[in-house]
Symmetry: C2
Subunit: 188 residues, 2 copies
Amino acid sequence: MSTRDRLVETTRELLWERGYVGTSPRAIQQRSGAGQGSMYHHFAGKGELARAAIERGAAELRAAAEAQLSGAGTASERITGYLRRERDVLRGCPMGRLTQDPEVVASAELGAPVRETFAWLRERLAALIAEGVAGGEFAAGLDPDATAAAVVATVQGGYVLARAAGDPAPFGQAIDGILGLLERKDAR
Amino acid sequence: MSTRDRLVETTRELLWERGYVGTSPRAIQQRSGAGQGSMYHHFAGKGELARAAIERGAAELRAAAEAQLSGAGTASERITGYLRRERDVLRGCPMGRLTQDPEVVASAELGAPVRETFAWLRERLAALIAEGVAGGEFAAGLDPDATAAAVVATVQGGYVLARAAGDPAPFGQAIDGILGLLERKDAR
DNA sequence: GTCTATACGCGGATAGAC
DNA sequence: GTCTATCCGCGTATAGAC
């Protein structure tokens, strides 16, 4: 891996763990093994590095979700697969985390990948839910957009509950809860 | 309001906006109008101040939730009232926000109020959901604990979606979604 | 491309006067 | 109780040598 790549990967880790305000160029240098001059040779500064790191993270997250959501199976099975896929729950979501950073949301450059990722995910799930409703897998009266928002929110909030508890269990409970509600397919 | 109180209130605001790492003693002093010496006279340091601020915030959040959840009406009405109560959505949840701060979750002193608040809220909602299931308001097969976790997670995740979008609407959608799922009362 | 040197203000706190 | 002075290392960079 090139020095440049190591810088980006290290920045991703640090942003995930400590957020944008909590991540210093010094820490990036030390953890990545790159020197001061090296870092400023490859990137104009902390902002540029964060931009690269966030964009890479967003692309990977979307690719991973798309792989699950466009796989084989019914709409319900694919959603369940997505929700139950293995996660490093106590680390939280690398995109959702950035949402708490005032400097990230205030910045067009840094915030755009986060905004787009969640917009895409909600749309993708809404389409899948609409498919499930059409196929009779879900209740006929279900609003796909609202339900998709609730599903994505449950995942994001599940991370919050798990971190608050210092225990991954509440995440699993929240997923069980939303799936339990989704699966009662009886019409209204 | 005493200087001490102003320091605590200012710290609450700053923790809410910027988190623990992003909040400096200097910023607290400037925004509260208290001097350096004054701050260190009342509190041993940033940690003590944050502890007081977090504890006060946790107590108020619980009181506000309890007021909604123990009000008049059926279980379903009280839960709906809680979910639909007015919120400053784009500011996020002052407790949920702290969950992203590594220094907060790593500290017993700072993390305990957060942990206890969410544990209490999940239990409180689970009891109310169990009541609703017993009274036939909700589907008979519903798991109260899992459903409560999903409901709390939807709120917390709703904040994340709203902040990601820079728009309060996704929060409302997520709430609509979870309520839509909860309200289909047909047995499994 | 990478290194070392240098800069300057902030973060977090202590000391002691008033 | 509050103020000013002082401390020391970190955050965030720039300059210039190799």
